[in-house]
Symmetry: C2
Subunit: 446 residues, 2 copies
């Protein structure tokens, strides 16, 4: 009565039994009936790989699963069809995934860092071994952005994508916006509430979002954008002052991962001939107008906006992390394997992904928000404006506020479209002219 002739349970070897691994074990129990109804099979964890088998665990092991500290146990067991890698980190994870593929296992992973830094070699190996390598949980947790780009937008030419890809940073920015507190205090709160790690570097300096952006670029354009080439700027030390000024202009400040076709590398109008792909891609704090759905993304949520030539604008929003949301994405991948799909790992038929060309971030065009601290003297506004005009920058809006004396008076500008190169040129002129009391702050406006 089942569609799938393969009615033996799908055997899983689980590497890592932390937050997501124990969430997966719970879902396999709680949703067992759903899984059977949807795939015609059961999914059974055969073995769980941990570093320390003697450690006390809050969550009991899945029934019938064996605890092991030996990676070879998962790789050699003929009853294991799929390795689920939830250990994190790079080297050990790469080792066990590689071994599993070599031994003919399919692989499901949530490891964005490994896939961003070393994914192409793993895709190549999976292709050679004709095995499935799935990774829905590696970007934006419960939000099905991998499937959306790989399958649902398959017939589209993606023009741009931008997202809030790191929940910790978004939580901190949301708290700073809601309560007017400074960055340090918001980070401490996030750490106390478990929204930020003791070492928050990966999150607040933008590296986690950058890993995810590399995966999204591969899915959207079938091109490799080397992780090391990405322009990455996080939110460390963001001033409450700028969040307040941004609000006065009608904007929220968000940590954005963005990639878009560079105007010069536009492939429109040349159907049939693969044109050279040139992308602007990076992670940076930016001002987002309050009427955009992205500006409404609060707390630890993630979101992605994709603009594509058939679909137009699409927006996805949901939980980007957490035990069950992430485990649910892992489970969807497992069920796809249980349904015995053919491998379709990159979403592209070609065996090797070409390398995308890269526009230097200083040449991306966008409006900018700039705040400078100046002395409250006659002519200072004229002098600063002159520095901007000298670089061809045109000002759209301006706010001047009374200062506290110590650090001078803030002048805040919203510019028309320009480049970071022009902006830093104008600010260098202002600094050279002795106009700035402290280094200027500037952000892109979306």
């Amino acid at each position: 009565m089942t569609r799938n002739s393969e009615t033996r349970p799908l055997g899983v070897g689980l590497a890592g039994f932390g937050t997501v691994g124990s969430g997966l074990a719970r879902l396999l129990t709680d949703n067992a009936d759903i899984i059977r109804r949807r795939t015609g099979r059961d999914i059974a964890i055969r073995a769980v790989l941990v570093r320390d088998a003697t450690k006390a665990r809050e969550v009991p092991l899945p029934a019938g699963a064996e605890l092991t500290t030996d990676p070879a146990r998962l790789v050699n067991d003929p009853d294991i069809d799929v390795l689920v890698e939830l250990m994190g980190g790079i080297d050990a994870a790469r080792g066990i995934i590689g071994e599993a593929l070599e031994h003919g296992k399919h692989v499901v992973t949530a490891n964005k860092a490994l896939l961003a830094e070393d994914g192409l070699a793993l895709f190549r190996l999976a292709r050679k071994k004709r095995r499935i390598l799935r990774y829905e949980a590696s970007v934006a947790g419960a939000i099905p952005v991998v499937e959306a780009l790989k399958e649902c937008l398959a017939g589209n030419r993606v023009e741009s994508l931008m997202g809030i890809l790191n929940g910790t940073s978004n939580y901190i920015l949301s708290e700073m916006t809601a309560s007017g507190i400074e960055f340090g205090e918001a980070l401490r709160q996030a750490q106390e509430l478990g929204f930020a790690e003791a070492d928050p570097t990966l999150d607040i300096d933008g590296h986690d979002a950058a890993h995810k952006l590399v995966l999204l670029i591969r899915l959207a354009w079938g091109a490799d954008y080397p992780y090391a080439a990405l322009s990455v700027r996080g939110i460390r030390g963001m001033a409450a002052l700028d969040i307040r000024f941004a609000r006065e202009f009608g904007y929220r400040i968000k940590l954005i991962g963005q990639a878009r076709m560079a105007p010069a590398g536009n492939t429109e109008g040349k159907p049939g001939a693969p044109a050279p792909l040139c992308l602007e891609a990076g992670v940076f704090p930016a001002l987002v107008h309050h009427t955009y759905l992205l500006a409404r993304v609060g707390g630890a949520y993630n979101a992605l906006r994709v603009d594509a030539n058939a679909a137009g604008p699409l927006f996805f929003h949901g939980r980007g992390a957490g035990s069950l949301p992430t485990a649910g994405a892992v489970l969807a991948d497992l069920m796809a394997v249980a349904r015995d799909e053919r491998p379709n790992n990159t979403g592209f038929a070609e065996p090797e992904l070409a390398r995308a060309a890269i526009v230097p971030p200083e040449d991306w065009r966008s409006p900018y928000y700039v705040r400078v601290m100046v002395d409250d003297t006659p002519g200072v506004l004229r002098d600063i404006s002159g520095c901007m005009a000298a670089e061809g920058i045109s000002v759209a809006q301006m706010i001047q506020k009374a200062g506290d004396g110590a650090s001078g008076v803030p002048l805040v500008f919203m510019t028309h479209e320009t480049t970071a190169r022009a902006m830093s040129g104008a600010l260098r002129r202002a600094a050279d002219g002795g106009l700035l009391r402290e280094p200027a702050v500037y952000y892109r406006v979306l």
Copy 2:
């Protein structure tokens, strides 16, 4: 070098060459390189079925495609692998889809009305013939909600879904909200701008949203909820007055399609045993708090919120109609066929979908918005409140405004959670007591 051994072009028979059909032809040309890169094959339209072959067409026929008025031409051609049905309507569409399946063709359709009213028989036939029947474009246009429910949320127990599923109605409500105009004027504007049909019945009376809701229920729960059993209420005659009052409470009025597990039919805690599924499902205008993303859906856009036991809340937003957005969804389905997936039409392994139990709409629990027009006399508020209290309804907020004399004074209540049965009981008491100058207006609050 391609993944797929099947490198012959996928042959398409296109039934219907209107807005969506011509959009599909355009995408197959404009995005031909993308399609080849992603599937390793070309997709070629072999024949186009129209009612009148002599009619002048704005869009030229696809190169190599033959124009025909004979459905048998599409069904018998051995070079046609897939029928794409974009004719709309019920009888002729059912006829050609059935014939195509019988002749071993796969089918891609955007026909929500046919699938809602008669889809189970078509799924049964596709299963018997082992053919793919895909329908991403039939719900919410470019937004990949079919794939999200069928694949990405496969391991989840869906708890509820609610969406803005009809762009015409949303456009009218958005215009009424933004400009304060009455329903009739907003409808006329929408018709002039091409957002509403000359006969807008399907859209504004909720039937189009109801068709889509039936498909979503099948995808989310693997259960059949007969179209005829759905409670459907549209927006015809909605008063600008109520949109204004709703705003004062912080809400927008939206036409919502909703389905959720009824509290009594809750299956939690009984894993492994299929519990009886009982749903509350219907289409109705409702108040949505302005902080909800659903309240932010403007113009002709569509959106869907899904709550599921692993993912938590997910939100999808995008174009729900239009030539290219809908054609892009059809194309994604075609590319899935080109990649030679196994049939997975309903998302469930079981051959027959069981019928869901139905909670009568008068017993759904929710807060309500109520507006009554009363005489401006002492004691009227006490009397109306007494009618509510007699039915166990508790009031959360109240607004009283000066009236224009002719139709009395409006009293507007926001209640705590109650049922439509209690509400209509209270209003009957008020009417019997001679308190109401005109029939009361009430909406659910989400």
